[in-house]
Symmetry: C2
Subunit: 324 residues, 2 copies
């Protein structure tokens, strides 16, 4: 039996043995910089956890676990260019530290590196997993495109929003679990149940992200709240507030979000006041609980030793209870 | 027996049946736009030609052929962002027609699409070809990085230049041939000979590119000559001229290339005068002949029916004799 942190350690140790001291330096240095900046190694840990539900030989799943982590980091690298984000994990983003061209190309090389890890799988597993990985990778791109499209869109429906976060976040978590399960020798049914578990956990995770940005306890959160409000991001909170508001209030909220003359703190306070009027906080918390519950229902149906499900359940709880 | 143009037609027909009418539109439209803009379909034709040297069943090689073509087009799409090129194949580039973010993301999706085609290969072939494809893809990124590095570098050696064009151009042509050969059931030796053939053909192709940009017959070339001189590109011609010049002439040529005050036509004329003084044209032509000869030597050693080698030989001749 493993704990989440033991699995995360296995991954971190593997990453520390990789050699990126290769030429041309300006291609490989940004890859090393990105992968060394850590992150929670959640996706690769889930690959290993899911594999371990059905097999004791988790070593076979390590290349796939690394592939998921490298792919995830590649998406962050390219997303940061597109979103013009200056900071990631408390460090300068690659396109700021080097430049955009370096970030595009080293990102491309990272994606190839992800496929290089996958290619280490035994041929029969590779043949099963590569199509799932490709489908998922393409969906992640679709999610990012929808996210960019929504920036220019005044009224995004909850349904479209949920589809976007499913593509942008959930499918990679779900595919990580399914991949681990397949490598562990799970039946198709069990692998699909874990995929569903991942989809719902991903939704809960992303909505929790939206919630924390507005309602986190600032003493634990580690950064200022209200950033989403200031950038006018279409979050679960904003979309629901807009949906609940009448014509008059709809315009008031929309104009408030767009108003660039108002002071930051005042804008945040006013928007939160509207959210509070519509009970957005508890509505959002309930939705997170709903997806968490759905996730656990899928997990319960997986046929494997019950204690092997513990890590995934813990992971789900971690998402529910996280404060930052 | 096929001709090059028959193989190109097979590929074009396959591409015309692909459906990119998918959502989000702003992700898939640029992919369709890029793939529909044609190009000579050289790499996929070589995959099929190499397969056909050892097998009559070229259908098995079609997914790999498409993968190479889509990957090649992905590199053009991202290179055009990095080089800020406004036009490709007489059409606006994706980052100009849409924007940079769209170009980054649809490029990413194209790379994934290339891997999706590869995933259609039977498992044993996939296990052999995926590592070759990954290695090659990474080398192409390395080549692009060296190319960008050279822009900021005053003195690039011929050796470094040849390594750069090998990575940026030759390895993909070589890997396309080797992939086709593997799918056709070639021995390792035959597959490697075709790889070597591709490397040398690629070098000849790229150096011919440099030659034409300065010395093409303008009535056939279709665009103005001298663009490389005006952009100060480190071409085979410039590198050799700099290498042949004494200290005084070296500075003269370098300053001439860097001089932004001089009229375009005068600059081109003056640089060509220096090239002529050093016999750069015939030196370059001889080098192209040398690589062409080396390529044919490898091709001759391949054991298969002689008439099956004809397409590859024709392809090599096409490069030697192209005027644009």
């Amino acid at each position: 039996m493993f704990t989440i942190s033991q699995l995360q350690d296995i991954i971190s140790e593997k990453f520390s043995t990789l050699n990126f001291d290769k030429k041309p330096q300006r291609l490989y240095e940004p890859i090393e910089y990105t992968l060394a900046s850590g992150g929670k190694r959640i996706r690769p840990a889930l690959v290993l956890a899911a594999c371990n539900m059905f097999s004791e030989k988790i070593e076979t799943a390590i290349p796939a676990a690394l592939a998921f982590e490298v792919f995830h980091n590649f998406t962050l690298l390219h997303d940061d260019i597109m979103d013009n984000s200056p900071v990631r994990r408390n460090k300068e983003t690659v396109h700021k530290k080097w430049n955009k061209n370096i970030a595009i190309l080293s990102g491309d090389a990272m994606m190839i590196q992800a496929y290089e890890f996958l290619s280490e799988l035994p041929s029969e597993l590779l043949k099963k997993i590569l199509p799932l990985f490709n489908k998922t990778a393409l969906e992640v791109c679709e999610g990012q495109q929808y996210d960019m499209d929504f920036e220019k869109c005044d009224n995004v429906s909850e349904e479209k929003y949920l589809n976007m976060i499913k593509l942008k976040t959930s499918v990679l978590i779900a595919a990580a679990l399914k991949t681990g399960a397949i490598i562990g020798g799970a039946s198709e049914k069990n692998a699909d149940l874990l995929y569903d578990f991942g989809i719902n956990i991903g939704l809960a995770f992303q909505i929790q992200d939206d919630l924390l940005d507005t309602y986190a306890d600032t003493s634990v959160f580690g950064k200022k709240i209200g950033n989403d409000i200031l950038t006018g991001k279409k979050t679960f909170l904003l979309i629901n507030a807009l949906q609940k508001s009448g014509i008059k209030e709809f315009d008031k909220l929309r104009n408030l979000i767009k108003n660039k003359k108002i002071e930051d703190d005042e804008k945040i306070k006013s928007v939160i006041q509207i959210y509070d009027d519509f009970n957005i906080k508890s509505l959002t918390e309930n939705r997170i609980k709903k997806y968490h519950k759905k996730a656990l229902q899928s997990l319960n149906l997986v046929s494997c030793e019950n204690n092997k499900k513990q890590i995934s359940a813990e992971f789900a709880d971690m998402i529910m209870n996280r404060k930052k």
